[in-house]
Symmetry: C2
Subunit: 327 residues, 2 copies
Amino acid sequence: MSSPTIYDIAARAGVGIATVSRVINGSRRVSDKTRKSVQKAMGELDFRPNNAARRLAAGAPNRARVVALMPFFTTSFYFTVCKTLSQKLSSENTDLVLVDVKNQEEADRHLDRLLAERSCEGVILCSMDINEERRDQYDILNIPLVALDHQTEIIPHIRVDNVEGGRLLSRALSDRGADKQALIIGTRSSVVFRDREAGFCEACPEGSRVIETELTDHASGAEVTKQLLESFPELNGIACAGDQLAVGALQELRRQGVSVPDQVQVIGFDDQPLMDVLGLTTVRQPMEKFGDWAADRILELIKNPTERPESLVVPLELIDRATTKTA
Amino acid sequence: MSSPTIYDIAARAGVGIATVSRVINGSRRVSDKTRKSVQKAMGELDFRPNNAARRLAAGAPNRARVVALMPFFTTSFYFTVCKTLSQKLSSENTDLVLVDVKNQEEADRHLDRLLAERSCEGVILCSMDINEERRDQYDILNIPLVALDHQTEIIPHIRVDNVEGGRLLSRALSDRGADKQALIIGTRSSVVFRDREAGFCEACPEGSRVIETELTDHASGAEVTKQLLESFPELNGIACAGDQLAVGALQELRRQGVSVPDQVQVIGFDDQPLMDVLGLTTVRQPMEKFGDWAADRILELIKNPTERPESLVVPLELIDRATTKTA
DNA sequence: CTGTTAGCGCATTCAT
DNA sequence: ATGAATGCGCTAACAG
């Protein structure tokens, strides 16, 4: 059956609905005896007050709610996004509902659910895709939708140019004298890595190599680097499509007594926290901008649904530090 | 005035409320002309459908909602908490509403608001306090409340023993031969740091020092270390009440050519990501446990409000790495 | 102390 | 294509 209402409770406890309401809300104007019996009935029927009805009846202010679908990969990228989203939305009296999605399938499930429930006034898609059909449904219901770290043109989004990022990686190495390059990327099932690879391959010298790893943690980076050192001894430049991978590479190089940047130069991607301390040269992705932009756009769209915000491609920046030579 | 309803829109557009509803929900059974006029009225009155009413009328399932009040300090502690909370709650069909609070005052404001709105079925307090009065109100309304990284006994919580943590810091240094110790802590306005200081002072050798910094980033750690090196040259052990501070200390020591751990040993607190790579000896705080415990308890309390979960003090663990000598 | 009643703002029949 | 009426589950007067 559907969930019990105060009517069910009232009937079962042999009291009026007002009394049930009083018990729920902790009014003291209820005798201990009836309170007990009402509580008993509530327990037996596993009653939980309906939030929507409660807010409606109580005349609670209609706070806007935006849902963020977020794949909590380990990278601190999502921490920053999460933090900026939360700060911006909280300050605008908007609830941020954080939903963890492990993959596209889960994201789709939630997109459909939100559509059916009509329970939010905006959705922020993080690193996830959406098909046109669903997009149209959102359009029809007038629920705004924006995305960050997103790769299609069907909804407004903010992202970096990962192909350009790949080029940057290789060029940075070339400019600093590394002509035997290797690129380490995460799984090619992610467009992000495919794009970085494409850019890298476009710009890199002949004979360069690309290696794919399942995970993008530093253990993987170290392992791949070890293989690389054996199979490609003339190697003098390692580009990594993620900072963690680069950290692993650095570890393995040190372990093998290979000097950085003299014998091998290393460059990462993201500029996560502490990379400055480690002295890693890297391609900076302006993460704060992602959250800020998404929050601003969704708030704007909620206020004015007819807006058609344009997508934004934010520039990548090369941060020169100690793991590369000077250009 | 209060926000307009479909009645206001209907009146203004000279149509019935059903038509307004149709327009809102994108029904195609509306002539283009009336649709336009309704949309115009909605625009002019800045209309936004009331969520609660919508869900109620549509018979949407009553998803439980738990609010997490979180001070997004820079530390990755909150990322881990955020992530575990989100994963656990999402998997239990419960909405996680993330609210950014900068300080206790903001936390109190939200606690009061949530109470007034009765808009959630549970609250998780992160690193924040609550007074008994408010706690009682929550009790009366039967809205469960749990906390993590919390220091009072008035609500169920999970935490570490920071006093013991402080002792651990000093003992670890003493055991490894550092007898001229200094402790660097963040602001004493936080109980956490006061406790760590108390523990440290209890266990440390005569003549040890404690320095307080405003911020807890690595820049502050470096700065304080610089001062320390001048004013306390015989120093041979630095304990830090946070990893970031320790990282800063390490940087400054290297800059000054002081060898670690030979001349000065360093120990941190938290075991944040990458500390293994940096080789920092530190006191590990089991962050995943915090989120897991809080999520589990709140879900349990929502199901069975009569539960009285006991608070949990999780043990700290010393992680021995390269910035200290062997014991 | 307790029950009756009237909305809260909207979706949804059912008529027209 | 559109309007009138009904009810979602609950709170809040209002009586008693």
